[in-house]
């Protein structure tokens, strides 16, 4: 049953790969959607049966086939479903299915074969993503990890005739490769340390060790794994690929570069929560990187003008927040934010896709405006998504973001908390900047002084041209998906309402077994998990450890509750303040925004150019490599040494044979004489020796 989940989308991929170009769009799109829907149904059934089990033993293990047998390494290709995995497969298949449905309308203007190619990639992506999520050991996860990277490359470069798209695909692939290298090394270190690669074994063995006080093997392993996570989840310093990845079709950006694939890094850390929990140094690095990324991407997002790029930086920023949660040991909060983020970010991307679709490929928000009337469904759903991501109370983003902020504050990471608050303020500002510039105000008349968008902003030359100048709201398949996701964005958070406002934070209890070392006595768990030692997982341990936590006392809890409520009110205020700032600058007083930008021209330029990170990488890494390749490797090593030795061998043979061929005279008697002389010499040698 578990195997069906990744296999169904893979079958869809095979069908569209082999027969796709001969199938009508309805059939190829239908097959892909059906495969995803099937996977979703099976996932839902699996999760349902998982929920029926008692909490302590929730877990389904399936050994598909023996895989790698070498020496002491015995590694089956195995899948495992646990609470963490079950949340992920529901997100991947559920949101994946919705985005497949959306794509059937969005990609309709492609040719039949292109359409089938698109859906085959999308299905392949889903299959690999599910392997990543369900993999029971590092190498199985790595198969999915590499596979989604491949699909990401294929889909970013889907319109490969456009240079910028194929370049973006290559950039994503290469940057991811750097991260993957770290992941591999981390995997090797884990193997040398624990002699096992199965997640549960590693967690059990790590759980028996004390947390590392200083930098040690576990810190090294987790740090290397985190390098992999930064690559896949677009964190500093490997964040540069994600904004460029927006060259792909918008549903792809929604599925791969917002909702699912980029969260793989967060998921991986959650999957190895015990391991990371034993490396406080790594956790500090994770939190630092997360908070830096959240702030940096948030500030860049403020000034970008491409609707999808703003969303891309928003994604990077939100991923940063998830890493903050991971870094402060609040694994459940991070995964919860991952889950809610999947809803509203997919919604926002699909909404932007509907806008782009309506405007025949226009992506520059300076050339938009006043779309509220023409695109009501898109407007209202987009607004819902923006409210949710900004953290407006009682929408899904509020619960998850607040959980992260609270955990970092209560864990004593006040500085991290402060920066995260600034990042969420920025989130509200840039999201509503996007809303106001796109949907409110006046539609700009032609030639209103906005510089020409240029070819890079148009979606593909052959795409969406049938839309013409005529505005139209999302077609039914897209509208339904938008509405469903909007509903999800509003209500998805209610599985994790914190206890302080009368909820029970069910998600945290549900996920808790995935973050604890298996097979430990409740008493021993206290010392084992540093996160718990810091009191951050107090909710998580309630179903298990009765003993240790009652000591904290109800009075202390009471005080915490007040603080938590205060902080909750504060972060709600922050969200509303961000929206207010956006209202002032981008709705009421556009000229004020322009004046501010002019006053801080240097800063504005810095942000507009994304802190010049791409330029720095180009100067520090790309150009030196190019120069070395060109001057040393090409001209000296390749042309000189390698070609030289090959050509030298050739000309040596050539020269020698020019002399030796004189021996072939064609004269029969000369041959006979040489045979005779040879025989005489050989016989003479044997007779007279």
């Amino acid at each position: 049953m578990l195997l069906l989940i990744p296999v169904l989308p893979f079958l869809g991929f095979l069908i569209n790969l082999t027969l796709g170009r001969r199938l009508a769009k309805t059939v190829s799109g239908g097959v892909a959607c059906l495969a995803m829907f099937g996977a979703f149904v099976v996932s839902a059934a699996s999760v349902w049966s998982l929920v029926q089990m008692p909490p302590a033993e929730r877990g389904v293990f399936l050994e598909v086939a023996p895989w790698i047998e070498s020496g002491t390494l015995s590694l089956p290709f195995a899948l495992r479903l646990d609470p963490l995995g079950s949340l992920m497969i529901l997100v991947v298949t559920g949101i994946g299915f919705l985005i497949h449905v959306y794509s059937t309308a969005y990609m309709r203007e492609e040719r039949d074969s292109e359409y089938a190619r698109y859906f085959s990639y999308l299905n392949l992506f889903a299959a690999f993503m599910l392997v990543l999520v369900l993999g029971a050991s590092f190498p199985v996860m790595f198969v999915g990890w590499e596979g989604v990277g491949l699909c990401s490359y294929l889909l970013i470069g889907f319109w490969f005739t456009k240079t910028s798209a194929s370049d973006a695909g290559k950039k994503a692939f290469i940057v991811n490769r750097i991260g993957d290298f770290g992941f591999l090394l981390g995997m090797f270190v884990v193997w040398t340390q624990f002699g096992s690669l199965d997640f549960q074994d590693v967690a059990r063995l790590a759980g028996q060790l004390p947390p590392e006080a200083t930098f040690g093997t576990i810190s090294l392993a987790t740090l290397l794994l985190f390098v992999g996570a930064t690559g896949k989840s677009a964190q500093i310093p490997l964040h540069v690929w994600l904004p460029d990845a927006m060259e792909g079709p918008t549903p792809v950006s929604a599925l791969i570069h917002a909702a699912t694939m980029v969260t793989a890094g967060v998921y991986m850390i959650g999957r190895n929560a015990v391991l990371f929990g034993h490396a406080p140094e790594t956790l500090a690095v994770v939190a630092a990187i997360g908070v830096a990324t959240a702030l940096m991407a948030g500030t860049i997002g403020l000034v970008q003008n491409d609707i999808k790029r703003v969303l891309a930086y928003s994604t990077v920023s939100q991923l940063g927040l998830m890493f903050v949660a991971m870094g402060v040991g609040a694994f459940a909060a991070g995964i919860f934010h991952l889950y809610t983020h999947a809803f509203f970010k997919a919604l926002l991307f699909l909404g932007s896709g509907a806008v782009i679709h309506a405007l025949a490929g226009e992506q520059d928000i300076r050339r938009m405006g006043g779309l509220r009337k023409e695109l009501p469904i898109t407007y209202w759903t987009f607004l819902t998504g923006a409210l949710a991501i900004s953290g407006v109370p009682f929408l899904s983003g509020f619960f998850s973001k607040d959980e992260i902020l609270w955990k970092s504050f209560s864990g004593g990471h006040t500085f991290v908390w402060g920066v995260a608050v600034v990042a969420s303020l920025l989130t509200a500002i840039y999201m509503f900047r996007l809303v106001f510039l796109t949907f409110h105000g006046e539609p700009p008349s032609a030639g209103s002084g906005v510089p020409a968008a240029g070819a890079s902003h148009a979606v593909a030359g052959n795409d969406h041209d049938s839309g013409g100048g005529h505005l139209h709201d999302a077609p039914p398949a897209m509208a339904i998906v938008l509405v469903l996701l909007a509903i999800g964005s509003v209500f998805a958070g209610y599985i994790g309402v914190p206890a302080v406002i009368g909820g029970s934070n069910r998600i945290e209890h549900f996920l808790a077994p995935s973050f604890a070392a298996p097979g430990l006595e409740p008493g021993g768990e206290e010392g084992a998990s540093p996160a718990e030692a810091r009191g951050e997982m107090s909710h998580a341990s309630e179903p298990k450890g009765e003993g240790g936590h009652t000591a904290t006392g109800p009075a202390n809890e009471e005080g915490d509750h007040d603080t938590e409520l205060l902080l909750m009110a504060f972060s709600s205020g922050i969200a509303l303040a961000g929206i207010g700032i956006a209202v002032f600058f981008f709705l009421r007083r556009r000229d004020a925004a322009a004046r501010t930008a002019a006053r801080f021209a240097g800063l504005h330029r810095l942000l507009l150019n994304k802190y010049y990170v791409d330029e720095v990488y180009d100067a520090a890494i790309v150009q030196p490599i190019k120069r070395t390749s060109d001057r040393a490797l090409w001209r000296v090593v390749d042309a000189g040494l390698i070609d030289g030795s090959v050509n030298g061998a050739g000309s040596l043979v050539n020269g020698a044979s020019a002399i030796l061929r004189r021996l072939q005279t064609g004269s029969m008697r000369a041959y006979a004489l040489s045979v005779f002389v040879g025989v005489v010499l050989i016989l003479g040698y044997y007779v007279w020796r």
């Binding site: 061929r661 004189r662 072939q664 005279t665 064609g666 004269s667 029969m668 008697r669 006979a672 004489l673 005779f676």
Partner: protein, 100 residues
Amino acid sequence: MVPLGHYLILSAILFGTGTIGVFLRRNVITVLLSIEVMLNAVNLAFIAFGRTMGSVDGQVIMFFVVTVAAAEAAVGLALVIALFRHRESLNPDMFTSLKW
């Protein structure tokens, strides 16, 4: 009975004659004939050895050599006829086009 050495000396003289013929004569047919002389010199040596040792092996080998020589003569003469038709010559030094 004639001693073995005499046979061998005669065989060597015949073989030498044949060899010199192969190298010195300017007619392909004569060259072929010289080769026959060399073969028969070898046959003579085989039979002499076989008789001295009281064995028929020498004669058996001789028959094989004669058979092969007959075949070689047939093929060789056919080639000579073909060459002559082609080049109007029987001088082996004229047939040196198979070279570098």
